[in-house]
Protein backbone atom coordinates (compact mmCIF):
# COMPACT_ATOMS: atom_id res chain seq x y z
CA UNK A 1 0.00 0.00 0.00
CA UNK A 2 2.85 2.31 0.87
CA UNK A 3 4.53 1.62 -2.48
CA UNK A 4 1.22 1.96 -4.29
CA UNK A 5 0.50 5.32 -2.74
CA UNK A 6 3.96 6.59 -3.68
CA UNK A 7 3.54 5.54 -7.26
CA UNK A 8 -0.10 6.39 -7.71
CA UNK A 9 -0.24 9.50 -5.54
CA UNK A 10 0.84 12.03 -8.18
CA UNK A 11 -1.20 10.40 -10.94
CA UNK A 12 -4.31 10.33 -8.82
CA UNK A 13 -3.77 13.92 -7.74
CA UNK A 14 -3.38 15.05 -11.31
CA UNK A 15 -6.48 13.13 -12.32
CA UNK A 16 -8.53 14.43 -9.45
CA UNK A 17 -7.77 18.11 -10.02
CA UNK A 18 -7.77 17.98 -13.80
CA UNK A 19 -4.95 20.53 -13.84
CA UNK A 20 -1.71 19.98 -12.04
CA UNK A 21 -1.34 22.09 -8.94
CA UNK A 22 1.55 22.63 -6.66
CA UNK A 23 1.72 19.94 -4.05
CA UNK A 24 0.42 21.07 -0.66
CA UNK A 25 2.94 23.32 0.99
CA UNK A 26 4.85 21.98 3.93
CA UNK A 27 3.66 23.71 7.10
CA UNK A 28 5.68 26.85 7.69
CA UNK A 29 7.94 27.13 10.67
CA UNK A 30 5.66 29.62 12.40
CA UNK A 31 2.82 27.10 12.61
CA UNK A 32 4.98 24.87 14.82
CA UNK A 33 3.51 21.54 13.81
CA UNK A 34 5.61 18.77 15.36
CA UNK A 35 7.45 16.91 12.62
CA UNK A 36 5.84 13.49 13.18
CA UNK A 37 2.38 15.05 13.18
CA UNK A 38 3.17 16.90 9.96
CA UNK A 39 4.38 13.68 8.37
CA UNK A 40 1.22 11.94 9.51
CA UNK A 41 -0.92 14.69 7.96
CA UNK A 42 0.98 14.43 4.68
CA UNK A 43 0.77 10.63 4.80
CA UNK A 44 -2.96 10.57 5.41
CA UNK A 45 -3.49 13.05 2.59
CA UNK A 46 -1.49 10.75 0.30
CA UNK A 47 -3.52 7.77 1.44
CA UNK A 48 -6.78 9.66 0.89
CA UNK A 49 -5.79 10.55 -2.64
CA UNK A 50 -5.49 6.85 -3.42
CA UNK A 51 -8.28 5.53 -1.21
CA UNK A 52 -10.99 7.88 -2.44
CA UNK A 53 -10.94 6.86 -6.12
CA UNK A 54 -10.21 3.20 -5.36
CA UNK A 55 -12.99 3.10 -2.79
CA UNK A 56 -15.52 4.59 -5.17
CA UNK A 57 -14.47 2.13 -7.88
CA UNK A 58 -14.90 -0.83 -5.50
CA UNK A 59 -18.35 0.35 -4.44
CA UNK A 60 -19.47 0.84 -8.04
CA UNK A 61 -18.11 -2.54 -9.13
CA UNK A 62 -19.76 -4.29 -6.18
CA UNK A 63 -23.11 -2.70 -7.01
CA UNK A 64 -22.73 -3.67 -10.65
CA UNK A 65 -21.80 -7.25 -9.70
CA UNK A 66 -24.85 -7.58 -7.46
CA UNK A 67 -27.17 -6.14 -10.10
CA UNK A 68 -25.73 -8.40 -12.82
CA UNK A 69 -26.15 -11.50 -10.67
CA UNK A 70 -29.47 -10.79 -8.97
CA UNK A 71 -31.15 -8.54 -11.52
CA UNK A 72 -33.28 -9.63 -14.43
CA UNK A 73 -30.90 -8.49 -17.16
CA UNK A 74 -29.31 -11.25 -19.21
CA UNK A 75 -25.53 -11.60 -18.87
CA UNK A 76 -25.37 -11.40 -22.67
CA UNK A 77 -26.53 -7.80 -22.42
CA UNK A 78 -24.82 -6.86 -19.16
CA UNK A 79 -21.82 -8.97 -18.18
CA UNK A 80 -20.78 -8.87 -14.53
CA UNK A 81 -17.45 -7.34 -13.51
CA UNK A 82 -16.22 -10.77 -12.47
CA UNK A 83 -17.02 -12.18 -15.93
CA UNK A 84 -15.17 -9.22 -17.50
CA UNK A 85 -12.24 -9.80 -15.18
CA UNK A 86 -12.01 -13.47 -16.09
CA UNK A 87 -12.18 -12.54 -19.77
CA UNK A 88 -9.35 -10.08 -19.20
CA UNK A 89 -7.29 -12.96 -17.83
CA UNK A 90 -8.40 -15.74 -20.20
CA UNK A 91 -8.23 -13.69 -23.39
CA UNK A 92 -5.18 -11.67 -22.39
CA UNK A 93 -3.06 -12.65 -25.39
CA UNK A 94 -5.83 -11.83 -27.87
CA UNK A 95 -6.75 -8.62 -26.07
CA UNK A 96 -3.14 -7.47 -25.80
CA UNK A 97 -2.36 -8.04 -29.51
CA UNK A 98 -5.38 -6.03 -30.53
CA UNK A 99 -4.83 -3.42 -27.86
CA UNK A 100 -1.33 -2.63 -29.18
CA UNK A 101 -2.84 -2.04 -32.62
CA UNK A 102 -5.50 0.35 -31.33
CA UNK A 103 -3.12 2.12 -28.97
CA UNK A 104 -0.60 2.54 -31.79
CA UNK A 105 -3.23 4.10 -34.03
CA UNK A 106 -4.37 6.43 -31.29
CA UNK A 107 -0.87 7.55 -30.34
CA UNK A 108 0.23 7.94 -33.95
CA UNK A 109 -2.88 9.96 -34.73
CA UNK A 110 -2.41 12.15 -31.63
CA UNK A 111 1.16 12.83 -32.64
CA UNK A 112 0.09 13.92 -36.12
CA UNK A 113 -2.75 15.96 -34.64
CA UNK A 114 -0.41 17.80 -32.25
CA UNK A 115 2.02 18.68 -35.04
CA UNK A 116 -0.78 19.78 -37.36
CA UNK A 117 -2.70 21.70 -34.71
CA UNK A 118 0.40 23.59 -33.52
CA UNK A 119 1.37 24.52 -37.07
CA UNK A 120 -2.14 25.67 -37.96
CA UNK A 121 -2.56 27.52 -34.65
CA UNK A 122 0.65 29.44 -35.32
CA UNK A 123 -0.45 30.27 -38.86
CA UNK A 124 -3.95 31.32 -37.76
CA UNK A 125 -2.47 33.43 -34.98
CA UNK A 126 -0.46 35.41 -37.50
CA UNK A 127 -3.07 35.64 -40.24
CA UNK A 128 -6.48 37.08 -39.55
CA UNK A 129 -7.75 36.14 -43.00
CA UNK A 130 -6.63 32.55 -42.52
CA UNK A 131 -8.54 32.47 -39.23
CA UNK A 132 -11.66 33.84 -40.92
CA UNK A 133 -11.35 31.33 -43.76
CA UNK A 134 -10.44 28.17 -41.87
CA UNK A 135 -11.94 28.41 -38.40
CA UNK A 136 -15.64 28.20 -39.33
CA UNK A 137 -14.96 25.16 -41.51
CA UNK A 138 -13.09 23.45 -38.69
CA UNK A 139 -15.89 24.13 -36.21
CA UNK A 140 -18.48 22.81 -38.69
CA UNK A 141 -16.40 19.71 -39.40
CA UNK A 142 -16.66 18.72 -35.75
CA UNK A 143 -20.42 18.32 -36.12
CA UNK A 144 -20.10 15.67 -38.84
CA UNK A 145 -20.82 12.27 -37.26
CA UNK A 146 -17.89 9.89 -37.47
CA UNK A 147 -20.10 6.99 -38.54
CA UNK A 148 -20.71 8.96 -41.73
CA UNK A 149 -17.06 9.79 -42.32
CA UNK A 150 -15.50 6.46 -41.43
CA UNK A 151 -16.84 4.43 -44.40
CA UNK A 152 -15.89 7.26 -46.76
CA UNK A 153 -12.34 7.30 -45.45
CA UNK A 154 -12.13 3.52 -45.76
CA UNK A 155 -13.29 3.82 -49.36
CA UNK A 156 -10.62 6.42 -50.04
CA UNK A 157 -7.74 5.14 -47.99
CA UNK A 158 -8.37 1.40 -47.82
CA UNK A 159 -8.37 -0.90 -44.80
CA UNK A 160 -4.87 -0.19 -43.58
CA UNK A 161 -3.49 2.26 -41.06
CA UNK A 162 -4.21 5.42 -43.04
CA UNK A 163 -7.98 5.75 -42.48
CA UNK A 164 -7.53 5.04 -38.74
CA UNK A 165 -4.93 7.75 -38.41
CA UNK A 166 -7.13 10.09 -40.41
CA UNK A 167 -10.08 9.60 -38.05
CA UNK A 168 -7.96 9.94 -34.93
CA UNK A 169 -6.49 13.18 -36.30
CA UNK A 170 -9.99 14.43 -37.14
CA UNK A 171 -11.28 13.97 -33.59
CA UNK A 172 -8.19 15.04 -31.66
CA UNK A 173 -7.00 17.94 -33.82
CA UNK A 174 -9.71 20.38 -32.84
CA UNK A 175 -9.39 20.45 -29.03
CA UNK A 176 -5.62 20.96 -29.34
CA UNK A 177 -6.05 23.73 -31.90
CA UNK A 178 -8.64 25.62 -29.87
CA UNK A 179 -6.72 25.40 -26.60
CA UNK A 180 -3.48 26.45 -28.30
CA UNK A 181 -5.10 29.42 -30.04
CA UNK A 182 -6.65 30.55 -26.76
CA UNK A 183 -3.28 30.24 -25.06
CA UNK A 184 -1.61 32.32 -27.76
CA UNK A 185 -4.31 34.99 -27.58
CA UNK A 186 -4.26 35.10 -23.78
CA UNK A 187 -0.71 36.49 -23.69
CA UNK A 188 -0.38 39.48 -21.38
CA UNK A 189 -0.30 42.48 -23.75
CA UNK A 190 2.04 44.31 -21.35
CA UNK A 191 4.55 41.48 -21.69
CA UNK A 192 4.46 41.90 -25.47
CA UNK A 193 4.91 45.66 -25.12
CA UNK A 194 7.88 45.09 -22.87
CA UNK A 195 9.76 42.77 -25.23
CA UNK A 196 9.03 45.26 -28.02
CA UNK A 197 10.79 48.02 -26.06
CA UNK A 198 13.70 45.62 -25.62
CA UNK A 199 14.00 45.30 -29.38
CA UNK A 200 12.11 42.06 -30.09
CA UNK A 201 10.93 41.44 -33.63
CA UNK A 202 7.39 40.12 -34.17
CA UNK A 203 8.81 36.62 -34.57
CA UNK A 204 10.97 36.91 -31.43
CA UNK A 205 7.95 38.09 -29.48
CA UNK A 206 6.10 35.01 -30.70
CA UNK A 207 8.89 32.62 -29.81
CA UNK A 208 9.88 34.12 -26.48
CA UNK A 209 6.47 35.19 -25.13
CA UNK A 210 3.41 33.96 -26.98
CA UNK A 211 4.49 30.38 -27.68
CA UNK A 212 5.57 29.58 -24.09
CA UNK A 213 2.39 31.23 -22.88
CA UNK A 214 0.37 28.82 -25.04
CA UNK A 215 2.13 25.65 -23.82
CA UNK A 216 -0.23 24.97 -20.88
CA UNK A 217 -3.09 25.27 -23.38
CA UNK A 218 -1.42 22.72 -25.65
CA UNK A 219 -1.35 20.29 -22.73
CA UNK A 220 -4.98 20.98 -21.82
CA UNK A 221 -6.01 20.33 -25.41
CA UNK A 222 -3.90 17.19 -25.59
CA UNK A 223 -5.46 15.80 -22.39
CA UNK A 224 -8.91 16.14 -23.93
CA UNK A 225 -7.68 14.86 -27.27
CA UNK A 226 -6.15 11.60 -25.98
CA UNK A 227 -9.53 10.48 -24.69
CA UNK A 228 -11.19 11.35 -28.01
CA UNK A 229 -8.40 9.68 -29.94
CA UNK A 230 -9.13 6.26 -28.40
CA UNK A 231 -12.81 6.50 -29.34
CA UNK A 232 -11.70 7.58 -32.81
CA UNK A 233 -9.37 4.63 -33.30
CA UNK A 234 -12.00 2.24 -31.96
CA UNK A 235 -14.67 3.59 -34.32
CA UNK A 236 -12.31 3.51 -37.27
CA UNK A 237 -11.62 -0.17 -36.67
CA UNK A 238 -15.32 -0.84 -36.32
CA UNK A 239 -15.77 0.46 -39.86
CA UNK A 240 -13.33 -1.94 -41.39
CA UNK A 241 -10.10 -3.36 -40.10
CA UNK A 242 -8.15 -6.57 -39.90
CA UNK A 243 -6.95 -6.07 -36.32
CA UNK A 244 -7.66 -3.91 -33.27
CA UNK A 245 -10.00 -3.70 -30.30
CA UNK A 246 -12.74 -2.17 -32.45
CA UNK A 247 -12.74 -5.22 -34.69
CA UNK A 248 -12.56 -7.52 -31.66
CA UNK A 249 -15.66 -5.97 -30.15
CA UNK A 250 -17.45 -5.98 -33.48
CA UNK A 251 -16.85 -9.71 -33.70
CA UNK A 252 -17.46 -10.54 -30.02
CA UNK A 253 -20.95 -9.06 -29.87
CA UNK A 254 -22.59 -11.27 -32.53
CA UNK A 255 -20.89 -14.22 -30.82
CA UNK A 256 -22.71 -13.18 -27.64
CA UNK A 257 -19.32 -12.86 -25.91
CA UNK A 258 -20.21 -9.55 -24.27
CA UNK A 259 -17.73 -10.08 -21.46
CA UNK A 260 -14.87 -10.05 -23.95
CA UNK A 261 -16.23 -6.91 -25.60
CA UNK A 262 -16.49 -5.25 -22.20
CA UNK A 263 -12.96 -6.40 -21.34
CA UNK A 264 -11.73 -4.67 -24.49
CA UNK A 265 -13.53 -1.48 -23.44
CA UNK A 266 -12.09 -1.74 -19.92
CA UNK A 267 -8.64 -1.92 -21.42
CA UNK A 268 -9.28 1.20 -23.48
CA UNK A 269 -10.66 3.05 -20.44
CA UNK A 270 -7.61 2.15 -18.40
CA UNK A 271 -5.34 3.35 -21.18
CA UNK A 272 -7.24 6.65 -21.38
CA UNK A 273 -6.68 7.17 -17.64
CA UNK A 274 -3.01 6.39 -18.00
CA UNK A 275 -2.52 8.81 -20.90
CA UNK A 276 -4.51 11.58 -19.20
CA UNK A 277 -2.57 11.24 -15.97
CA UNK A 278 0.73 10.86 -17.79
CA UNK A 279 0.16 14.09 -19.68
CA UNK A 280 -0.61 15.85 -16.41
CA UNK A 281 2.66 14.59 -14.95
CA UNK A 282 4.55 15.59 -18.09
CA UNK A 283 3.10 19.09 -17.80
CA UNK A 284 4.24 19.37 -14.19
CA UNK A 285 7.67 18.27 -15.27
CA UNK A 286 8.06 20.30 -18.43
CA UNK A 287 6.20 23.47 -17.43
CA UNK A 288 7.17 23.90 -13.77
CA UNK A 289 6.05 27.54 -13.67
CA UNK A 290 2.41 26.53 -14.13
CA UNK A 291 2.44 24.72 -10.80
CA UNK A 292 1.93 27.92 -8.91
CA UNK A 293 -1.35 29.67 -9.36
CA UNK A 294 -0.58 32.99 -11.03
CA UNK A 295 -0.05 35.87 -8.66
Amino acid sequence: MRAASTVLGPVVRVLSTGRPRRAPRAPSASVQVPAPAAAAVAGSRQAASVLAPVGLLVVLLAGWELYARLGSVSPVILPSPSAIASSLVDDRALLWTNFTVTAGEALGGIGLAVIGALALAGAIHFSRSLRLAVYPLLVASQAVPLVLLAPLLVAWLGFGLAPKLAIVVLVSFFPILVATLDGLAATDPDLLKLVRTLGATRWQAFVSVEAPNALPGVFTGARVAVVFSLIGAFLAEWSGASRGLGLLVEQAIPQLDTARAAAAVALLAGFALLLFGGLGLAERRLLPWTRTVSR
Binding site: D188, D190, G199
Partner: protein
Protein backbone atom coordinates in the same frame (compact mmCIF):
# COMPACT_ATOMS: atom_id res chain seq x y z
CA UNK B 1 1.70 78.09 -26.27
CA UNK B 2 0.21 81.09 -24.55
CA UNK B 3 -2.75 79.23 -23.00
CA UNK B 4 -0.38 76.72 -21.47
CA UNK B 5 1.83 79.39 -20.00
CA UNK B 6 -1.20 81.10 -18.50
CA UNK B 7 -2.42 77.84 -17.04
CA UNK B 8 0.93 77.08 -15.58
CA UNK B 9 1.21 80.45 -13.97
CA UNK B 10 -2.23 80.24 -12.50
CA UNK B 11 -1.53 76.76 -11.10
CA UNK B 12 1.98 77.28 -10.01
CA UNK B 13 2.18 78.37 -6.40
CA UNK B 14 5.68 79.71 -6.97
CA UNK B 15 7.37 76.59 -5.67
CA UNK B 16 10.57 78.31 -4.68
CA UNK B 17 11.10 81.53 -2.88
CA UNK B 18 14.19 83.47 -3.79
CA UNK B 19 17.30 81.97 -2.25
CA UNK B 20 18.00 85.11 -0.24
CA UNK B 21 14.78 84.69 1.73
CA UNK B 22 16.03 81.35 2.99
CA UNK B 23 19.53 82.54 3.60
CA UNK B 24 20.85 80.14 1.00
CA UNK B 25 24.20 80.63 -0.70
CA UNK B 26 24.18 82.72 -3.86
CA UNK B 27 24.24 79.67 -6.11
CA UNK B 28 20.74 78.38 -5.65
CA UNK B 29 20.15 74.74 -4.98
CA UNK B 30 17.03 74.92 -6.98
CA UNK B 31 15.57 77.50 -9.23
CA UNK B 32 11.96 77.92 -10.24
CA UNK B 33 11.00 76.64 -13.64
CA UNK B 34 10.83 79.03 -16.51
CA UNK B 35 7.38 78.05 -17.63
CA UNK B 36 6.43 81.55 -18.54
CA UNK B 37 9.27 81.81 -21.00
CA UNK B 38 9.13 81.07 -24.73
CA UNK B 39 9.14 77.37 -25.64
CA UNK B 40 12.73 77.23 -26.80
CA UNK B 41 13.88 78.13 -23.33
CA UNK B 42 12.03 75.12 -21.92
CA UNK B 43 14.57 72.95 -23.65
CA UNK B 44 18.03 72.10 -22.45
CA UNK B 45 20.88 74.55 -22.83
CA UNK B 46 22.22 74.66 -26.38
CA UNK B 47 25.52 73.00 -25.54
CA UNK B 48 23.74 69.69 -24.89
CA UNK B 49 22.91 69.27 -28.56
CA UNK B 50 19.63 67.73 -29.64
CA UNK B 51 17.48 66.52 -26.75
CA UNK B 52 17.00 62.84 -25.93
CA UNK B 53 13.32 63.49 -25.38
CA UNK B 54 11.25 66.39 -26.70
CA UNK B 55 7.53 66.83 -26.20
CA UNK B 56 5.60 69.80 -27.49
CA UNK B 57 1.97 70.30 -26.56
CA UNK B 58 1.39 66.57 -26.12
CA UNK B 59 -2.16 65.54 -25.22
CA UNK B 60 -3.32 61.97 -24.74
CA UNK B 61 -6.83 60.83 -23.95
CA UNK B 62 -8.59 57.50 -23.85
CA UNK B 63 -12.06 56.84 -25.23
CA UNK B 64 -14.64 55.57 -22.78
CA UNK B 65 -18.01 53.94 -23.28
CA UNK B 66 -20.88 56.45 -23.04
CA UNK B 67 -18.69 58.97 -21.30
CA UNK B 68 -16.49 61.75 -22.53
CA UNK B 69 -12.93 60.62 -23.23
CA UNK B 70 -10.59 60.48 -20.28
CA UNK B 71 -7.76 62.94 -20.71
CA UNK B 72 -4.64 61.52 -19.10
CA UNK B 73 -2.18 64.17 -20.24
CA UNK B 74 -2.89 67.66 -21.46
CA UNK B 75 -0.59 69.99 -23.36
CA UNK B 76 2.66 68.71 -21.92
CA UNK B 77 5.87 70.24 -23.25
CA UNK B 78 9.30 69.28 -22.05
CA UNK B 79 12.77 68.58 -23.29
CA UNK B 80 15.33 66.32 -21.69
CA UNK B 81 18.98 66.51 -22.63
CA UNK B 82 21.13 63.42 -23.10
CA UNK B 83 22.56 62.34 -19.77
CA UNK B 84 19.93 64.17 -17.74
CA UNK B 85 18.08 62.40 -14.94
CA UNK B 86 14.51 63.63 -14.67
CA UNK B 87 11.95 62.52 -12.11
CA UNK B 88 8.23 62.95 -12.54
CA UNK B 89 6.10 63.18 -9.44
CA UNK B 90 2.38 63.63 -9.20
CA UNK B 91 -0.75 62.17 -7.65
CA UNK B 92 -2.18 58.84 -8.79
CA UNK B 93 -3.92 59.11 -12.13
CA UNK B 94 -1.87 62.12 -13.20
CA UNK B 95 -0.79 60.34 -16.39
CA UNK B 96 2.74 59.53 -15.27
CA UNK B 97 2.73 56.03 -16.74
CA UNK B 98 1.06 57.33 -19.90
CA UNK B 99 3.89 59.83 -20.28
CA UNK B 100 6.48 57.05 -20.01
CA UNK B 101 4.66 54.85 -22.51
CA UNK B 102 4.45 57.77 -24.94
CA UNK B 103 8.19 58.33 -24.65
CA UNK B 104 8.83 54.61 -25.21
CA UNK B 105 6.63 54.59 -28.29
CA UNK B 106 4.03 52.25 -26.79
CA UNK B 107 1.35 54.92 -27.20
CA UNK B 108 0.91 57.74 -29.67
CA UNK B 109 -0.08 61.27 -28.68
CA UNK B 110 -3.48 62.52 -29.83
CA UNK B 111 -2.12 66.05 -30.21
CA UNK B 112 1.30 67.58 -30.19
CA UNK B 113 4.73 66.43 -31.21
CA UNK B 114 6.99 63.93 -29.57
CA UNK B 115 10.45 62.71 -30.37
CA UNK B 116 12.65 60.45 -28.29
CA UNK B 117 15.64 58.22 -28.75
CA UNK B 118 15.06 54.47 -28.34
CA UNK B 119 14.20 53.77 -24.73
CA UNK B 120 14.14 50.77 -22.42
CA UNK B 121 11.08 50.66 -20.21
CA UNK B 122 11.01 49.30 -16.70
CA UNK B 123 7.30 48.84 -16.11
CA UNK B 124 5.59 49.16 -12.76
CA UNK B 125 4.71 45.47 -12.82
CA UNK B 126 7.95 43.54 -13.10
CA UNK B 127 6.67 41.56 -16.13
CA UNK B 128 9.34 38.90 -15.94
CA UNK B 129 8.94 35.90 -18.21
CA UNK B 130 7.62 33.14 -15.90
CA UNK B 131 9.23 30.36 -17.92
CA UNK B 132 12.87 31.41 -17.77
CA UNK B 133 15.07 31.83 -14.72
CA UNK B 134 16.08 35.11 -13.11
CA UNK B 135 19.44 35.53 -14.83
CA UNK B 136 17.99 34.83 -18.25
CA UNK B 137 15.22 37.37 -17.55
CA UNK B 138 17.89 39.92 -16.66
CA UNK B 139 19.73 39.24 -19.93
CA UNK B 140 16.57 39.15 -22.08
CA UNK B 141 17.61 42.10 -24.25
CA UNK B 142 20.93 40.42 -24.97
CA UNK B 143 19.13 37.26 -26.04
CA UNK B 144 16.83 39.30 -28.28
CA UNK B 145 19.89 40.98 -29.78
CA UNK B 146 21.04 37.56 -30.92
CA UNK B 147 23.52 36.57 -28.22
CA UNK B 148 23.72 32.91 -27.30
CA UNK B 149 22.14 31.88 -24.02
CA UNK B 150 25.54 31.30 -22.42
CA UNK B 151 26.88 34.64 -23.61
CA UNK B 152 23.80 36.54 -22.43
CA UNK B 153 24.10 34.93 -19.01
CA UNK B 154 27.78 35.76 -18.80
CA UNK B 155 27.22 39.40 -19.69
CA UNK B 156 24.24 39.77 -17.39
CA UNK B 157 25.95 38.20 -14.37
CA UNK B 158 27.93 41.26 -13.13
CA UNK B 159 24.87 43.55 -13.08
CA UNK B 160 22.80 40.75 -11.56
CA UNK B 161 25.29 40.35 -8.74
CA UNK B 162 25.73 44.09 -8.24
CA UNK B 163 22.00 44.30 -7.53
CA UNK B 164 22.33 41.80 -4.70
CA UNK B 165 20.83 38.90 -6.59
CA UNK B 166 23.80 36.52 -6.49
CA UNK B 167 22.69 32.99 -5.68
CA UNK B 168 19.30 33.41 -7.34
CA UNK B 169 20.47 33.05 -10.94
CA UNK B 170 18.49 29.88 -11.51
CA UNK B 171 15.37 30.77 -9.55
CA UNK B 172 12.18 31.17 -11.53
CA UNK B 173 10.34 34.48 -11.04
CA UNK B 174 7.59 32.77 -9.03
CA UNK B 175 10.25 31.65 -6.56
CA UNK B 176 11.48 35.22 -5.92
CA UNK B 177 10.12 37.85 -3.57
CA UNK B 178 8.50 40.97 -4.99
CA UNK B 179 11.56 43.06 -4.24
CA UNK B 180 13.85 40.56 -5.95
CA UNK B 181 11.66 40.44 -9.02
CA UNK B 182 11.79 44.21 -9.21
CA UNK B 183 15.58 44.11 -9.05
CA UNK B 184 15.67 41.52 -11.84
CA UNK B 185 13.44 43.82 -13.90
CA UNK B 186 15.81 46.70 -13.12
CA UNK B 187 18.79 44.61 -14.23
CA UNK B 188 16.95 43.75 -17.44
CA UNK B 189 16.39 47.46 -18.13
CA UNK B 190 20.01 48.36 -17.43
CA UNK B 191 21.20 45.55 -19.69
CA UNK B 192 19.06 46.75 -22.59
CA UNK B 193 21.97 48.75 -23.95
CA UNK B 194 19.67 51.72 -24.48
CA UNK B 195 20.92 55.19 -23.64
CA UNK B 196 17.46 56.23 -22.40
CA UNK B 197 15.89 54.44 -19.44
CA UNK B 198 12.23 54.94 -18.60
CA UNK B 199 11.66 53.75 -15.06
CA UNK B 200 8.11 53.46 -13.73
CA UNK B 201 8.25 53.40 -9.93
CA UNK B 202 11.49 51.39 -10.14
CA UNK B 203 11.95 50.82 -6.43
CA UNK B 204 8.32 50.94 -5.32
CA UNK B 205 8.10 47.29 -4.22
CA UNK B 206 11.26 47.35 -2.13
CA UNK B 207 11.67 47.71 1.59
CA UNK B 208 13.07 51.04 2.76
CA UNK B 209 16.63 49.86 3.29
CA UNK B 210 16.96 48.00 -0.01
CA UNK B 211 15.37 50.96 -1.75
CA UNK B 212 18.01 53.32 -0.37
CA UNK B 213 20.78 50.89 -1.30
CA UNK B 214 19.55 50.64 -4.85
CA UNK B 215 19.07 54.41 -5.14
CA UNK B 216 22.70 54.86 -4.11
CA UNK B 217 23.74 52.11 -6.48
CA UNK B 218 21.87 53.80 -9.35
CA UNK B 219 23.45 57.16 -8.50
CA UNK B 220 26.90 55.56 -8.64
CA UNK B 221 26.08 53.69 -11.85
CA UNK B 222 24.92 56.91 -13.49
CA UNK B 223 28.10 58.64 -12.38
CA UNK B 224 30.30 56.01 -14.03
CA UNK B 225 28.19 55.36 -17.15
CA UNK B 226 25.82 58.25 -17.72
CA UNK B 227 22.42 57.55 -19.22
CA UNK B 228 19.37 59.61 -19.79
CA UNK B 229 16.78 58.64 -17.21
CA UNK B 230 13.12 59.52 -17.08
CA UNK B 231 11.67 58.10 -13.90
CA UNK B 232 8.23 58.14 -12.39
CA UNK B 233 8.09 57.99 -8.64
CA UNK B 234 5.75 58.76 -5.79
CA UNK B 235 8.71 59.08 -3.46
CA UNK B 236 9.75 62.74 -3.44
CA UNK B 237 12.91 61.92 -1.51
CA UNK B 238 13.92 59.48 -4.22
CA UNK B 239 13.29 62.22 -6.79
CA UNK B 240 15.50 64.81 -5.09
CA UNK B 241 18.24 62.30 -4.30
CA UNK B 242 18.52 61.00 -7.87
CA UNK B 243 17.24 63.60 -10.32
CA UNK B 244 18.73 66.66 -11.98
CA UNK B 245 15.20 67.93 -12.46
CA UNK B 246 11.92 67.13 -10.78
CA UNK B 247 8.73 67.70 -12.77
CA UNK B 248 5.39 67.90 -11.00
CA UNK B 249 2.22 66.77 -12.76
CA UNK B 250 -1.22 67.99 -11.70
CA UNK B 251 -4.12 65.66 -10.93
CA UNK B 252 -5.98 64.39 -13.99
CA UNK B 253 -5.74 65.65 -16.64
CA UNK B 254 -2.00 65.67 -16.08
CA UNK B 255 -0.28 68.96 -16.82
CA UNK B 256 3.17 70.12 -15.89
CA UNK B 257 2.62 72.51 -13.02
CA UNK B 258 6.06 72.92 -11.57
CA UNK B 259 9.66 72.11 -12.26
CA UNK B 260 12.57 72.06 -9.84
CA UNK B 261 16.23 71.82 -10.71
CA UNK B 262 18.48 70.03 -8.25
CA UNK B 263 21.95 71.42 -8.71
CA UNK B 264 23.76 69.19 -6.32
CA UNK B 265 26.37 66.68 -7.44
CA UNK B 266 25.51 63.02 -7.04
CA UNK B 267 25.89 61.00 -4.88
CA UNK B 268 23.88 63.12 -2.51
CA UNK B 269 23.31 62.84 1.20
CA UNK B 270 19.67 62.30 2.06
CA UNK B 271 20.13 64.34 5.21
CA UNK B 272 21.48 67.35 3.25
CA UNK B 273 19.45 70.22 4.69
CA UNK B 274 18.93 71.78 1.28
CA UNK B 275 17.58 68.55 -0.18
CA UNK B 276 15.26 68.19 2.78
CA UNK B 277 14.03 71.74 2.25
CA UNK B 278 13.54 71.14 -1.46
CA UNK B 279 11.60 67.99 -0.71
CA UNK B 280 9.30 69.96 1.56
CA UNK B 281 8.70 72.53 -1.16
CA UNK B 282 7.85 69.85 -3.73
CA UNK B 283 5.44 68.22 -1.31
CA UNK B 284 3.80 71.60 -0.84
CA UNK B 285 3.14 71.84 -4.58
CA UNK B 286 1.77 68.31 -4.61
CA UNK B 287 -0.66 69.07 -1.85
Amino acid sequence: MTPMATQLESHEPRPLASPAEHGLPPRPLARPAEHGSPPERLGPPAEHGSPAIALRGVTRSFPRVRQPPLTALEDVSLAIAPGEVVAIVGPSGAGKTTLLELVCGLQQPDLGELSAVAAALMPQRDLLLPWVDALENAGLALRLAGHSRAQARREAAPVFEALGLAGFEQSRPDQLSGGMRQRVAFARTLLSGRSLLCLDEPFGALDAITRMELQDWLADALATSPRTVLMVTHDVEEAVVLADRVLVLSPRPGRLIAEFTVERPRPRERTDAELVALRARILEVLR
